[in-house]
């Protein structure tokens, strides 16, 4: 049991790193919500912009992926 404090710290850190994914969730929700509010004002312009929305989602998601990556590294690589 004793001597495992490094592993304990790694697991706690992995759990804390996962909170960063909540930020990605907020970002993706923000992108889609704003797209929807714009699309309901002008539905005819909305269909041409769905690709842009997905690109925005992907870029907002990328930073959450890095926190996931940190969690994976703490779990399996450190």
């Amino acid at each position: 049991m004793e001597g495992d404090i490094v592993q304990m710290g790694a697991y706690i850190g992995a759990g804390l790193a996962c909170t960063g994914m909540g930020g990605a969730a907020v970002g993706v929700g923000h992108v889609v919500g704003n797209f929807l509010s714009g699309a309901l004002r002008n539905p005819s312009a909305a269909t041409g912009q769905t690709a842009t929305m997905f690109i925005g989602i992907a870029f907002a998601e990328a930073l959450g992926i890095f926190s996931f990556l940190v969690a994976l590294l703490l779990m399996f690589a450190v």
Binding site: A51, I57, I65, F66
Partner: protein, 249 residues
Amino acid sequence: MAKEEAGNGLVFHPMDQFQIKTLFGDGPVHWYSFTNVTLWMGLTLLAIFALLVLGTSRRAMIPNRIQSVGELAYGFIYRMIEDVAGKDGVRYFPHIMTLFMFIVFSNFLGLLPMAFTTTSHIAVTGVLAMGVFLSVTILGFAKHGLGFLSVFWISSAPLPLRPILALIEVISYFVRPLSHSIRLAGNMMAGHAVIKVFAAFAAVLAISPFAIVAITAIYALEVLVAFIQAYVFAILTCVYLKDALHPHH
């Protein structure tokens, strides 16, 4: 991952489904051994072949169901490349169509019960993303020479800001294959692990109705995610391709 204390009979093994095993014999996995990854990648290729080659072989004027699905996929990707990468990006249609069809079919086949999801491994998606990254970089230098480096130099920004932006752009350029691959693998892995966790909850009598409804709902969500992640992978490839074809901001 293993939970040793199985006192109440509730044992979670949500990550066991991602283990790579040899199918014939039980020796260690060599580079030539036939594993479950090999099997499901082969099935993916067979499914794509059945849809796009066998399905359209009759070339009927009025398409039957399979042929119209194939035509739908073709037109969908073609229009996406035209919209995002522009007219001159259409030359690279075969690469993006191949990537999209491979990813969408391995995602969908992975949703079958007892199946193995090849795209849930970073090794698989990493190869796809590195292929995109390398080919786009080589294409950019081949087309524009050293002028391709102007993708990092944002000429519409104020001059004092440009070196800082250039640094950020360089970092974000080299991080691309990482986020590109982990997005797909992470989404697939997380979705399947969640389904497995709820499947383990279904063994507890008190919450089993809730768990079974939850599995159904999450499965429906996963079908959506399987398509959207393939679409996002393809559309990001188009964005990177556009940067290589038109590096001047």
